[in-house]
């Protein structure tokens, strides 16, 4: 009890000194730079200590899960969120909380110098508290990073399926990047929708930007081709690089009934011919 009261007393009554020491500690490891200004950092640490001291005022806590720590945890959520978004490294984010250890330990040592047993207890209580806060910070940081990654994934999914109109009645879909089931599905849907919208009779899927074609990718392509045919349009697959042609045959994939061309230009020429259109040069050669 005495050990814990030492800590709560420190948090409650010596916030100012603690803040100054903490800032000094942070300045050594985590300098204020373009990502976060010195004033903002100081405000953040001040606010954190204020909330922590309020939590201490509520009385004894029985471990890191106690309810009075909730405001502290939600404040830390906010802090690590903003850090993750501003591009701080995990170490830098964790240092924010862990650097509080030395000032707290210093205070406790001065206070319980004469009583090693209580000092050990007090240090343990403080460590437990700061560690749990640190781990919480880290968890929040991780969560935010995952959110960012997920958002980028959906954005990429949207970016990577542009259906372009090449000519009257001819659509093209340049596929870039790895094809997985989710992407293949999006690609198929957006292409089919555009075929209906534009009334195009020929669709070209260009796979120049697809790094590898395995059985799964081939299966997705075949499905898309079949669906396009069912709707009453034709599909040409272009951009099959020499290595890809070799892989396809070596894997034993049969792209039977699918028209393929090496380049998008060849595919466009074929599409124009099939739809009965020609391009004539303006200058006699």
């Amino acid at each position: 009890m005495l050990a814990q009261s030492g800590l709560t007393d420190l948090l409650r009554n010596q916030t100012k000194q603690l803040h100054a020491q903490w800032m000094a500690e942070l300045a050594a490891g985590l300098r204020a730079d373009s990502r976060i200004g010195a004033t903002e950092l100081s405000e953040q640490t001040g606010e954190f200590l204020r909330i922590l001291s309020e939590a201490a005022r509520e009385g004894v806590w029985d471990g890191p899960q106690s309810p009075q720590l909730r405001p502290v945890l939600s404040f830390l959520d906010e802090v690590s969120r903003s850090r993750a978004i501003r591009g701080f490294t995990p170490e830098e984010t964790a240092t924010f909380v862990f650097s509080l250890k030395r000032p707290v330990f210093d205070h406790l040592r001065r206070r319980f110098e004469a009583d090693p047993k209580t000092l050990a207890d007090a240090l343990w209580t403080a460590t437990e508290l700061i560690d749990s806060l640190g781990i919480h910070t880290f968890k929040a940081y991780q969560r935010t990073r995952e959110e960012v990654i997920n958002r980028q994934r959906t954005e990429m999914l949207e970016l990577s399926t542009p259906v372009v109109k090449l000519w009257e009645g001819i659509l093209a879909l340049p596929m870039i990047g790895t094809v997985d089931s989710a992407r293949a599905q999006t690609v198929m849907e957006s292409l089919l929708e555009r075929i209906i919208e534009t009334g195009s009779t020929i669709a070209i899927i260009d796979i120049t930007g697809v790094p590898t074609v395995d059985t799964l990718v081939a299966q997705h392509l075949l499905k898309t081709v079949a669906a396009i045919r069912l709707m009453g349009a034709e599909c040409i697959i272009s951009g099959i690089r020499p290595q890809i042609a070799q892989t396809i045959v070596q894997l034993g994939i049969t792209l039977e009934g699918v028209t393929t061309r090496a380049t998008l230009a060849d595919a466009l020429a074929l599409a124009l011919r099939r739809s009965g259109q020609t391009i004539a040069g303006t200058r006699p050669s």
Binding site: M188, E189, L192, E193, I195, I196, G199, S200, T201, K223, A226, A227, I228, R229, L230, M231, G232, A233, G257
Partner: protein, 126 residues
């Protein structure tokens, strides 16, 4: 029992399916259509399913069957107006209706039938 109307347009028959078909309706359509092809000597059948949101495997197979049966009676079948969602479902079901000709809409379907008729007549004369 509901019957799907079969309209005659020159040498072609036009079927527009606008209600979700039950199995019995589908069978009745099959019967009616074959009788009508035989009686009228139609050379092409155009099936418009642009109003259908759902096509199950039974209806899918029925369309494939109709196409093959019509061929035996010397009429070509063109399936038009399939919606993207329906196309995706049929492909996922493994029904790619290989023997059936398709077109985007009724107009393009008619062009296809007319072109096929000309080719066929030319071939007959050879």
């Amino acid at each position: 029992m509901e019957r799907i109307p079969i309209l005659r347009m020159g040498k072609f028959l036009l079927i527009t399916i606008q209600v979700d078909m039950h199995d019995t309706t589908a069978l009745a359509l099959q019967d009616d259509l074959m009788a009508k092809i035989a009686r009228s000597g139609a050379r092409g059948v155009l099936i418009d399913i642009s109003a259908l949101d759902v096509v199950d495997s039974y209806i899918g197979r029925m369309i494939a069957d109709i196409s093959m049966m019509s061929k035996l009676l010397h009429a070509r079948t063109v399936l038009v107006g399939m919606r993207p969602a329906v196309a995706i479902t049929l492909v996922e079901l493994g029904l790619s209706l290989r023997g059936v000709k398709t077109a985007l809409d009724v107009e393009k379907g008619m062009e296809l039938l007319a072109a096929a008729l000309e080719d066929g007549d030319a071939a007959d004369q050879d």
